[in-house]
Symmetry: C2
Subunit: 335 residues, 2 copies
Amino acid sequence: MVTIADVARHAGVAPSTVSYVLTGKRSISPQTRTKVRESIRLLGYHPHAGARALATSRANVVALVLPLRPGVHLPVLMRFVTAAVTAARRHDMDVLLVTADQGAQGLRRVAGSAQVDGFLVMDVELDDDRVPLLRQVAQPSVLIGRPAAVKGLTCVDLDFEAAGARCVDHLADLGHRYIGFLGAPSVVYQRNTGYAQRTMAGFGAAAMRRGIASTALPAEDDYESVLTSVRSLLRTQPAMTALVVHNEAALGWVAGSLRALGRKVPDDVAVVAICPDELAEQMQLTSVQLPAEELGRQAMELLVARLNGHPTAPLTLLPPKLSGRASTAPRLRRA
Amino acid sequence: MVTIADVARHAGVAPSTVSYVLTGKRSISPQTRTKVRESIRLLGYHPHAGARALATSRANVVALVLPLRPGVHLPVLMRFVTAAVTAARRHDMDVLLVTADQGAQGLRRVAGSAQVDGFLVMDVELDDDRVPLLRQVAQPSVLIGRPAAVKGLTCVDLDFEAAGARCVDHLADLGHRYIGFLGAPSVVYQRNTGYAQRTMAGFGAAAMRRGIASTALPAEDDYESVLTSVRSLLRTQPAMTALVVHNEAALGWVAGSLRALGRKVPDDVAVVAICPDELAEQMQLTSVQLPAEELGRQAMELLVARLNGHPTAPLTLLPPKLSGRASTAPRLRRA
DNA sequence: TCCGTGTGTTGAAGCGTTTCGACAACATTA
DNA sequence: TAATGTTGTCGAAACGCTTCAACACACGGA
């Protein structure tokens, strides 16, 4: 292994000088700088990460804590991950993978051994058992998702309330006056999953604000129950001309159910989904997407900010983006 | 931070003694051992990873090099990853994530700075530009996939030839005598992707061995061309009673095409797929799966073996496993 | 001429481990 | 009893880097 001493000898300077050239923490004359740089290049020198970590007590590594539990949408997760990794690299940080199955143990170990400078925790739930742990360890952390109490934390999430509202606004602007909401399976609401409720709340509030009649129902993820839910929405509100769907699994059955009930999309009933973009793209649905890249990037930036001692807000909510597609159209006043 | 010196002081021994308790590299009296252990527990001591890496020139970290290029099947990739991470943890190793977009640069940096002890490279192609790099760096590596020349490397892969053969054998055992093969899009064969050819070769050889008439065709991934390919297979070989499909994207259209041509699965034509297990499960297809967990685990075990100086074979091929499902049935001799 | 003020460079002291050689203390053999 | 192992422990020297205090030097101002 080629060390800083080798470089120093080769360039005819002191090791400390080489260090200062590398870190730029002191002014170095242009001559020495280029001389040292040349020696570094020639010898193929790379600073030893461990030694550096020891000396600076900074590992330049952040832990990425992934859930990998069943039910996470992998393509979206991967987009988080790549965005986070890319952002990390921009700040000369590397990423250590910590899977959730390593559990509390893993977090503590990684934190205690100073292997990482901070934690990026993905897919945080309303009542996440990792949160108390993260409060204990020395390293700062940023969470993607929104636990019940964000005080003292740094969290990033999509503004689901705004997302629900955005759907209503879009439909209202198109002239719709009676809108239905097809939600997640009821078990999700029972589990207090946070984002589901918040979307609903945002939807409901926006409807009230715009003077729009709204009806909401949960939906399970098989054709039969989607059909039942849609039928009962239409029965409750026969004038319904638009549907907001917040349920990835049900999405595939919605168009079919509507067709089975004699309604065409978008002419009779417009549909807006809240779902990963690729799903919406595939089915040609107007949708509010989960901005995975943006979330991953933001989270990492916030983490880096905290590592550099900058204060950060406990909760950063990203504004929803709506992409118009074939499933919505202006409401034409029929003769 | 609590250091080994703190522990030593607390336990009334020398730092080196604590170290020996931790590593077990010298015999320590039971009394001191428990005393030291107790102090460690009490003070919540964790060895500093950087310091350890510096002293031992072993980071206890392996790099996981992911492609993340479009077209990789993410659920399968994730199963690789979790299996690899789990295996790594069993050997007290952590996993650093290196995405391919960091490219050669990233590999060199991570290797040069001694951040990792080895590389686990996923989704290696026949002519992979990472391979020459890996030969240069000091750390050993294990590849999942099979590049053109494996000499001096350590590679793990599914035995695709055997997989092709396994399908034939299964069908032959059921009494089928005329079997078709629906392959990947022709562009894949042109690209020399290795595994596609090897599957074909295995299929063809097994058919010859069993005295079975076989016809093979590539298939694109839209309904029209799948239909065309299936029709032309049936025209070439009207007595065909079974189909081996090695094309994830086409899979969805196969049953429909057969139905459109008046053939029922499995009564008229049996189907065996070579694809990720969940796809097969979902469509109830008899299939040979990609043993992702097994590959990830094996790869990590091999890497650990190499790190410990054990020699490893340049190529480890995992035997294919066939799961019988509803799409195959014994060939009944019709009246 | 002397003094302060920058600027560029250096030597040495850490950072927290591991590990080697040394050395007591005790047990075993001659 | 002396010589020889064996076992358990210790002190100190690495490992490769950063960083602080110190210093040499040149510069302009009194």
